[in-house]
Symmetry: C2
Subunit: 333 residues, 2 copies
């Protein structure tokens, strides 16, 4: 059996047993956006790591190195944001092909340091090694949070309102635009969404500190893929409403112009790094007000329901079950 | 300019400015075995990370996967040991070629979990991604230590005795044996040194908690290469004595059998992960006794001296300056 037969999440299930030797203080190990352990003073430390490999996660010909640096750290910052935490200390490992120019690496580090400064993160260390032919970047990042404010994937309850704190599909459209070398007068917004995603630490803090939400995740693998993680970990199903889905104007125009399936970008497009949470119906308005007061978005898009599937109510009213395919690194779905 | 022109340490010097955005509490950033920051309770957190890439750090045809798993974590544990700390929480990222069998990955994780258990480490999380053709493993590891016990590379003083807490050259001999497909009746010890290096956490704790030593490092790049880091960071030179150098019997026999340069293995062989420290002359005997009482080795091999070079007194008494070539990933020295 190869890894492709098992899939990324099958593999994680296979290896996650036997990883904890000191269970005291550990709140979450493998399986959520971050690992969590308690430290003195009602605080918790969050830990996350992301590996980006050339030709799998990025192509040198597509992303300018400054943005590659920013994005390498952004994806880990988003994992901290997804639990409501504040990012703190980063370690950056880089595997460098001998053919890469030092000025190119300078640009990567300029991007890394710029986003680190914006989010008040220290780059405390790393490892610098030779790679035979592909650039590899691994970021490990810690965060901190009051231990009674942390939001997990597993906390969603039947009846909860599902909300997203931003619009979806723009990053995937940016990639589509690049890969197909398409012209589009308003392409900048879509390309920026793809090159320079915004980790929503501030929205995450508002949601977590309000103590109104029951669960949270960041949408990195696409709405349906990540909602499926929430369903699976929480033991409930979901019903989302297409007519409530916020649609970015640029994305709509782009899809109309090239006759592309808008719904597919919104439901399955990855790498938007928008936060998605669930909240009890009676707390939904209050949470919306808390976010709006800080200029943060709040879009209720559906409900957690009994069951073990994700269903979509189409604009015409028809309800159908959605395929769960998020992005799996190995199955290539 | 390519990375090979600059070298690993030249590159690190180039990128290390501008990495700290919150200096409060940070004791050491980029440049030592670990980064260090203070936390409440006179404690410090140590952070380190190591990336291993197939065909640079290991070959699948040479190292059994169980030992590859152990070694991936061992090198980071050794960085924690090098400052006197206790390892705690690990994150493991793995980039997996589609061609690798899942049972092979199971063995890697069996090795990772075994050494984690031996050192009371939690594997708290990680990332699992596709790699186009080479296996990549990145470990990020935290450790902890009382903040008044941490030992740095930069603390060595002129007049200090240089000591090593084990013998050197066995791992390089194991690799030499493998690469040249040599037969040797006692090869097991050398191969084990190469496949399954021991991180010396216990020796490191004794040395650090004694508060007798002035500096410490682990020998991963070879004695001369790592001693040079200590010299450079501490602003002193070193004089080491060949006749005081402990020589492993197996290594001596192996070199005699194949007419190999024993001195080269001892002075320049990497990956032994033996600790090297410096201690004031008047405290040397006391430190030796503390280590011996716990069955740990202590070999005084020279002195820190005025200057900016490393000199060797040969067995005949002649003193000569040593080339500083440790292992540089990019210069390929």
């Amino acid at each position: 059996m190869r890894i492709g037969d098992l899939g990324e999440f099958g593999f994680i299930d296979r290896i996650k047993n036997g990883c904890l030797n000191r269970k005291s203080g550990v709140v979450a190990g493998i399986g959520d956006d971050c690992a969590v352990f308690r430290v003195p003073g009602n605080l918790a430390v969050l830990l996350t790591t992301d590996m980006l490999i050339e030709d799998v996660h990025f192509r040198l010909s597509e992303i300018p190195p400054y943005f590659l640096g920013r994005k390498s750290l952004a994806v880990s910052i988003s994992d901290i944001a997804a639990m409501g935490g504040t990012p703190r200390e980063a370690l950056v490992s880089i595997g460098i092909p001998g053919s890469i120019e030092v000025v190119y690496l300078d640009e990567i580090y300029k991007g890394l340091k710029a986003i680190a400064t914006e989010y008040d993160i220290n780059i405390l260390g790393g490892d610098t090694v030779l790679s035979p032919d592909r650039l590899v970047i691994n970021v490990a990042l810690s965060g901190e949070e009051r231990d009674d404010e942390i939001l997990y994937r597993s906390g969603a309850l039947e009846g909860d309102v599902i909300f997203i704190a931003g619009t979806l599909g723009r990053s995937a459209a940016g990639l589509d635009l690049l890969r197909n070398k398409r012209e589009f007068e308003k392409k900048e917004g879509l390309l920026t969404a793809h090159f320079d995603p915004i980790p929503h630490v501030w929205s995450g803090r508002i949601i977590a500190s309000s103590k109104l939400a029951n669960s949270m995740i960041d949408i990195s693998d696409g709405l349906v893929g990540d909602l499926w993680h929430v369903c699976k970990e929480s033991g409930v199903g979901a019903l989302i409403e297409m007519e409530n889905m916020p649609i970015d104007d640029n994305l709509r125009e782009y899809c109309e112009r090239y006759r592309l399936d808008l719904e597919r970008f919104v439901l399955y497009g990855g790498e938007d790094y928008v936060l998605m949470g669930t909240v009890a119906t009676e707390s939904s308005d209050l949470l919306r007000e808390s976010l709006k007061a800080q200029d943060c978005d709040y879009f209720p898009i559906g409900k957690m329901v009994d069951g073990d599937s994700i269903k979509l109510r189409e604009n015409g009213g028809t309800i159908r079950e959605l395929a769960r395919s998020g992005y799996d690194h190995f199955s290539g779905e």
